[in-house]
Point group: C2
Chain length 367, copies 2
Amino acid sequence: MTKPSKSKTRISAAPKSAGTALLSRSCPPSAEAGEKITLAHGAGGRHMHRLIHEIFRPAFKDASLDLAHDGALLDAQKGRLAFTTDSFVIRPLFFPGGDIGSLSVHGTANDLAMCGAEPLYLSCACILEEGFPISDLGRIAQSIGRTAKAAGMRIVTGDTKVVERGKGDGVYLNTAGVGAVRFARPVTPSSIREGDVLIVSGDVGRHGAAVLSVREGLAFETALLSDAELLWPQVRALLDAGVDVHCLRDLTRGGLATALNELAQSSGLGILIEEESVPINGDVASACEVFGLDPLYMACEGRFAAFVPEHDAQKAVDALQGPCRAHPPARIGSVIGEHKGSVRMRTRIGVERILDMLAGEQLPRIC
Amino acid sequence: MTKPSKSKTRISAAPKSAGTALLSRSCPPSAEAGEKITLAHGAGGRHMHRLIHEIFRPAFKDASLDLAHDGALLDAQKGRLAFTTDSFVIRPLFFPGGDIGSLSVHGTANDLAMCGAEPLYLSCACILEEGFPISDLGRIAQSIGRTAKAAGMRIVTGDTKVVERGKGDGVYLNTAGVGAVRFARPVTPSSIREGDVLIVSGDVGRHGAAVLSVREGLAFETALLSDAELLWPQVRALLDAGVDVHCLRDLTRGGLATALNELAQSSGLGILIEEESVPINGDVASACEVFGLDPLYMACEGRFAAFVPEHDAQKAVDALQGPCRAHPPARIGSVIGEHKGSVRMRTRIGVERILDMLAGEQLPRIC
């Protein structure tokens, strides 16, 4: 509760009497090195406005943010829109191949892409813990702005809250997104048909393994980076190639196995995959081996499953591959009429077994 | 890390070997009394699906929630849409006149109304702390569902994350909303004109005072309830009455004084208010007196400021009053050509003074 440095400001700054237990009247912070978030940054007053003008607005500058009003007006769109949201609580905030800022854009942009929608508009809300370094917030804001630009999304609205020390963990983010549906037919679990081919867009489990590696201090011969990536370009390639896409699903928490179980349940069909067809990076396999984890349950942040009819399968693989993908897509299975609502896997030794949904917690706070 | 009760489930439940330090394989919870949130509820697997199916889906049942896909498809809308977001970290979670659930709907619905938009679609994301009682989550979810129904909003998409004990505070919510703009002219700070009349839609500061009263254990002769309320019906009344609305702003964190300062700055005009015209409930004034707080800086969650041309002022007051409002609207000031970018108040004793933006923190975690 430092005294204001300018008495003029104090006199004019209004609350009629300052109960110091409840009312801090310190001056707004300058964005100097070592500065920390205080509860006043969440009060809606001068400190918060300074945070917005000094941290968020410059970082989101390519994104036409209108922070002067309660909400944003969007351009009128023809046709249907998609709408989605995600909160992000990943630990650590900075990991190999990304950070909570880039992740928060990828997560929501990718959920829109999975609806067959081009990502257009983004909201960004943060819950900051008292004491969080403003310099780290600046890095995260820069990362959000950069990733939104790469995604072709405009950050149009936001919110900032601050909680007391010990009631948060640095920063939690939420993004919501609005996109324009570009596919003529619905891209949704209920469009999945018996006989559909199942393709994964690249190798699975690298995001989980990369986060695990920094948490546990693992070192690999080559750097193990998260697979975090924007998915709309690959989805757009399917659209441009004229592939009749039935369903798309990104492989996040719970990994490939959990995503496929959700789809088997919501489509009411069975899914059979071939273990040896699932692309898994060697370092990911090693990390999983060490910790007794299954890569089929490891989170990705830049991979998805696509369900397409047999006659479009090769066209889909070619479109997903594009000119130069380091981690190529693969055809890993198909939709079957038996074992409705469940997923089965033919193992390397030729045995077929149930691949169930994740039952507990494999790796907390992965996104 | 309790053993699964059904070995069949365990055998089929997949992760190939269970490193118990990282992988909890306990059974999904039943929704029994005393049950708590665990990290597994945030893992994307079986526990989370059960939470969605047993808690969220029934609570949001009137709201056509499609939880089976990554995002929601919205009906095509003619004209412009508004889009907004807010996070909610209020303490305590349940307060006189509302709870974090109803607040999270009011906050976002009201931000849309302030853009002149009818609230239509809502997302709902929660960050749960390990150990939070599932029964309380159920109450909050019911409150969200009930309030969304009252607001005419469909809850169409959501997200759940869980953080470790001590890294949160029970539950934090985020909502984002999409609405359809119903006013032909832009309702925005840049539409404010010199000479505009400033009207508040009801008495100010009750939300802040109500939360303060439970935190501090104050008792009033009559129950002091939050003013939390949906604003679209009053905004709709302005529209139906043909009022030429220039700008609307809800009075949340930082209260009336902070909201008016934001508008003075973004419009580049001056605002002059009359202290004795500002409606303040007697209990609110008393609570503020006790704690040395200024009601003009106390948060509301169901009040807004409206800027309208002089010739429409009485029509606007009548429309806001409607047939039976217990807390009537009031004309409290006007937009002036002098003192550009700042707010001045003529006090009860006739002195004019600057009413500045909140400089510190009056009451943390008020929304």
